[in-house]
């Protein structure tokens, strides 16, 4: 509850934590409708939108934190949790679904011990689900970063993940 200002994912608050954010905020000072670009630039700077960053944006731009949170959760491009070095996108589209995408997702979740939408504590992997990645011929399919992996079975999941850890 308290002391959230002092916590951050990038190694303690040495007072410089907000330096980048403050530059962004100065740049957009007085600009109308600047919330979205500020959030975009803040996410570029921090990799995601940490709570203390959102709170500081709220304070400096005089916009309620609840409203910023509403905007940040509305657009898929914004992330409120730290993201892993490897982003796994597991397709749950119709073609993949009928070919067992649920079981594949479950295998990945079990292997990494996190749920879809979450990131491993060592920040190695983030699991996301997507509606269709346009590779239905290879169903069930997933992407890890820019690589496509198709014709998946729960059994081959560990082998694939090994390549990225």
């Amino acid at each position: 509850m308290s002391n959230t200002e002092k916590k951050c994912c990038c190694g303690g608050n040495d007072g410089k934590h907000f330096a980048q954010l403050d530059e962004i905020l100065v740049k957009y000072q007085g600009v109308k409708g600047a919330l979205i670009p500020v959030l975009q630039e803040a996410q570029n700077a921090y990799g995601y939108l940490p709570k203390d960053v959102v709170k500081r944006i709220a304070e400096k731009m005089n916009i309620p934190a609840s409203q910023i949170y509403g905007v940040a959760t509305f657009y898929a491009q914004f992330h409120l949790n730290p993201r892993g070095r490897n982003i796994i996108r597991v397709c749950q589209g119709t073609a993949c679904h009928v070919r067992g995408a649920k079981a594949v997702l479950k295998a990945i979740e079990d292997q990494l011990q996190i749920a879809a939408g979450q990131t491993t504590p060592d920040l190695q992997f983030t699991i996301e689900t997507v509606a269709c990645i346009g590779a239905c011929g290879l169903a069930p399919v997933m992407m890890i970063n820019d690589d496509t992996h198709g014709r998946l079975t729960p059994a081959i999941v560990p082998e694939i993940l090994k390549k990225y850890s």
Partner: protein, 574 residues
């Protein structure tokens, strides 16, 4: 005002040019069902249940946001309209728990009423239902998002009326919810527990935390001596929860009902409201004469105290250190009253009936243990008391009036007006004026501080002393005064703030639905109670005099300090 002519269901009427179709229909005595619309909040046009047919329009229109224009022809109940409304409600119900029989809002729910009015017998849609954990980690309110129909009224009430901005729409599509930032619980968000969101919520998605079970248990425990205090605003609203009209004064029936429920003593918070006036009034005189922090601001509304602790902690010195009447009462029950009656305070269960959800949180503040025990054990809202009376099967309207018990049930008209905005100020002025001048006032009605204007200002002469006062109700109005103080532009000496619209009579624990009209009737009833009192000044209360003479000493004395005053601390939240 410029008027236009329209025809609505064949009836020709004139309405202001700025009216919406919904307002036009209402003025013609036609009921159009609504859900996201609330007469006191900005219309949003989200739910579409208010659809009507407008001749020439390509599709049905949402009447709550559709403006009238000259010559318009409206039909509010064609087959197409009725069918479209049904579809909307069926879609809502398809994603709703539909457990009305065991729901806290059963028989007092707008969604349920609309479903009944529209004659819904079958829900043609089936689909996944949302499921979220309850938000129940605070003492005041419970949020059940499964029952939320995303009407957005709570968002608007919290932002527009209270200026706190706790909620917004979060996520999108099927996953849309109404939540505080970061999906935190209300206790982590900057929520004041005022309950105004619960007051406007059409369903059971935001309700008061129900503490009736604990009170029933105490009442049936023969070893416990259970006493109850009732806040001023309860007596002018409880009737609404039991089938009586708004503005009914039910003091005597309420006392009778509480005795039937099994309370051993039925006391009145009005007594400690009088006591509050003596402490707070003397504190004001002290601050005025000894260069104390001014303006002094009242501290009896716990939603307001939370607000200033969370959002304006730099101004905490302005708050009167006097406890609220509820907490003064609590501190005295387990000390003064226990001593006088020889009852061991550990066997006393102290219950209060309040118009307020924030009072539940106030009672469990760690510093509210001046008696050595938790001073107030359980706080029930007016709505909860209404439910207990129904559960006990009492025919409320037929109950014969009874009187409060002495001595903590003796009070004056100054105590009862605490229930309306401006009342604490007026009660204080009645006492402070006479203490300062040593002479009785010619007129004790301070009309300048009464009424439902958002912020009232007045200048009062107290002997040679001219005092400028302000009165604010709703937190959005309070914020304006605080910003003035911060900017150094406030030249007031004394400010009263109540968190809720109209003061406690519009509290977050009062019967719903409520609107400006109903609040006005409750206010009128409060001043009627005052007018009918034989004693109308707190310092004339004989029981309060006796308390000081035989036990407490003098206002602001040592014992008062220990039992009747408190301190505040900044709250770091969301």
């Amino acid at each position: 005002m410029e008027m236009v002519n329209i025809t609505i269901d064949g009836k020709k009427i004139q309405v202001p040019k700025t009216a919406t179709v919904l307002e036009a229909a209402q003025s013609a005595g036609i009921t159009v069902p609504t859900l996201c619309y609330h007469p006191e909040l900005r219309p949003e046009g989200a739910c579409r249940v208010c659809m009507v047919e407008v001749e020439g329009a390509r599709s049905l229109v949402a009447s709550c946001v559709y403006p009238v224009n000259e010559g318009m022809v409206v039909r509010t109940s064609t087959a197409a309209v009725r069918d479209a409304r049904k579809t909307v409600v069926e879609l809502l119900l398809a994603n709703h728990p539909q457990d009305c029989l065991s729901c806290q809002r059963n028989l007092n729910c707008e969604l349920q009423t609309i479903a009944a009015d529209l004659g819904i017998r079958k829900i043609r849609f089936e689909g996944e239902k949302k499921h979220y954990p309850l938000d129940a980690n605070n003492p005041s309110l419970v949020r059940d998002q499964d029952k939320c129909i995303l009407c957005g009224r709570c968002i608007r009430a919290c932002s527009e009326r209270q200026g706190v901005h706790v909620y917004s729409f979060v996520n999108r599509g099927f996953n849309t919810t109404v939540s505080p930032a970061f999906n935190e619980g209300l206790e982590e968000a900057p929520c004041t527990f005022c309950g105004q969101c619960a007051s406007v919520c059409p369903t059971a998605a935001i309700v008061e935390k129900d503490d009736t079970a604990a009170v029933w248990a105490a009442l049936s425990d023969p070893k416990k001596h259970v006493v109850v205090q009732t806040a001023p605003a309860v007596r002018v609203a409880l009737g609404e929860a039991l089938g009586m009209g708004p503005g009914s004064i039910v003091t005597g029936k309420m006392v009778a009902a509480l005795r039937r429920l099994g309370f051993d003593r039925v006391f009145d918070t009005d007594f400690s409201a009088d006591l509050t006036i003596l402490e707070e009034g003397n504190e004001l005189i002290e601050r005025l004469s000894h260069n104390g922090k001014l303006p002094m601001i009242t501290s009896c509304s716990p939603g307001w105290v939370n607000f200033i602790e969370i959002l304006y902690p730099d101004l905490l010195d302005h708050l009167s250190t006097a406890k609220s009447p509820q907490q003064m009462f609590g501190a005295l029950v387990k000390t003064y009253y226990a001593e006088k009656t020889g009852i061991d305070p550990k066997d006393i269960v102290s219950v209060s009936i309040m118009p307020c959800t924030a009072k539940k949180a106030e009672a469990v503040r760690p510093e509210m243990k001046s008696s050595g025990y938790q001073d107030v054990d359980f706080v029930l809202t007016t709505r909860e008391l209404g439910r207990m009376i129904r559960e006990a099967g009492l025919d409320f309207e037929k109950l014969a009036k009874e009187e409060f018990d002495a001595p903590l049930g003796i009070s004056t008209g100054a105590g009862v007006i605490f229930g309306a905005t401006g009342g604490v100020m007026e009660a204080a002025l009645r006492t402070v004026a006479e203490v300062v001048t040593g002479k009785p006032l010619d007129c004790i009605d301070f009309h300048g501080v009464r009424g439902l204007t958002g912020i009232k200002e007045a200048e009062v002469e107290l002997g040679d002393l001219k005092v400028k006062v302000a009165v604010a109700h709703t937190l959005a109005n309070a914020r304006m005064l605080l910003d003035k103080i911060r900017a150094g532009e406030a030249d007031y000496q004394f400010i009263e703030v109540m968190a809720c619209p109209g003061g406690c009579i519009g509290g977050g624990g009062q019967p719903v639905p409520v609107c400006a009209d109903i609040r006005q009737k409750r206010v009128d009833a409060i001043y009627d109670c005052d007018q009918c009192s034989t004693l109308r000044k707190s310092h004339d209360n004989p029981a309060v005099k006796e308390l000081y003479d035989t036990w407490l000493g003098k206002p602001l004395g040592e014992k008062s300090h220990k039992l009747l005053h408190t301190h505040y601390h900044p709250q770091e939240r969301g």
